[in-house]
Point group: C2
Chain length 203, copies 2
Amino acid sequence: LAWTDALLEFWFEFASTYSYPVAMGLEERVASAGIEVKWKPFLLGPLFAKQGWTDSPFNLYPAKGAYMWRDLERICHDANLEWRRPSRFPQSGLLAARIAYANEAEEWVASFVRAIFVANFAREQDISDPSIVMECVSPFVSDPRAILDGAQLPATKDGLRARTADAENLGIFGSPSFVVEGELFWGGDRLEQAIRRATRHVD
Amino acid sequence: LAWTDALLEFWFEFASTYSYPVAMGLEERVASAGIEVKWKPFLLGPLFAKQGWTDSPFNLYPAKGAYMWRDLERICHDANLEWRRPSRFPQSGLLAARIAYANEAEEWVASFVRAIFVANFAREQDISDPSIVMECVSPFVSDPRAILDGAQLPATKDGLRARTADAENLGIFGSPSFVVEGELFWGGDRLEQAIRRATRHVD
């Protein structure tokens, strides 16, 4: 059986609006396709900074930003997803990304990722606030304080930095991105293509 | 019968890579949905310039550009469309846009638009060269020279400038864009959404 060969990497940044609907529906979507997902948190800020952007392009380019907010509203409506435009954008997803990175082999990581995205884009909560992050991780672990402490370990910080360098080396420049056998797909509307690619050796 | 109410505007710039596959498949796609298309050529350059870009963002941001070329190759492959990466990008579509604008009520305009896109993205021809543009318009009119002369009329030039201002006022910032009842959709992957919007009052 070749099922285990079908692998899709989901590269995401917690501040990313378009990553929210993808994160919410991804597990269900790939399960029906028989694909394994690797959740790959990374930081978009450093990659944007290298392009000369010190803010989200959606803030830097107002017409594009206005469209994005409307587009996202439509996407969430079509997907029956709660959606509330956050009053502060972008938020810092650094702490959440460190936790997701340090625990990405854990079964609960996908649930944690979704909880953070919901906090950011459905509940208007501050995802840089450790108490909010604690609430998001608490349902899944016995010692949430230890998880937050683990986020501050040098190995975690260095690891997430290396992960972000990996993203750049893969040619990633935005979130959500999907990587299948080194092939890059950018944007939620490329998920189906990425899935086709991941499964074509499976059929 | 409400069929005549279903109207979709296709806003496009001839230099735009992602507009090529859309232009090629649009008529067939909307015909099966019972929708009327208005072809709306405009110029993206002046809108980019207002954002501080003096070149295509695909050139300004190399990672994004590298991805776009690969993505477009995949899209054209999936759509069975000829595709050759042009050695010069972006090309000036000004002359072609003026002709499309001045003749947008003519039945042949869609065929002309496709011919220019094919010249740019399948044949590596110079679409700013009047002789190439002449070849693209010749199959459809008895006096192609008159069509090229018409492109230089002040009314045509002013009209295309006003069209570009209209694009900006609609919130357009890229090509391809679709507008249905004032609602903006950006990117070929939003065509289905735009079609659903155009047809929901038709059902």
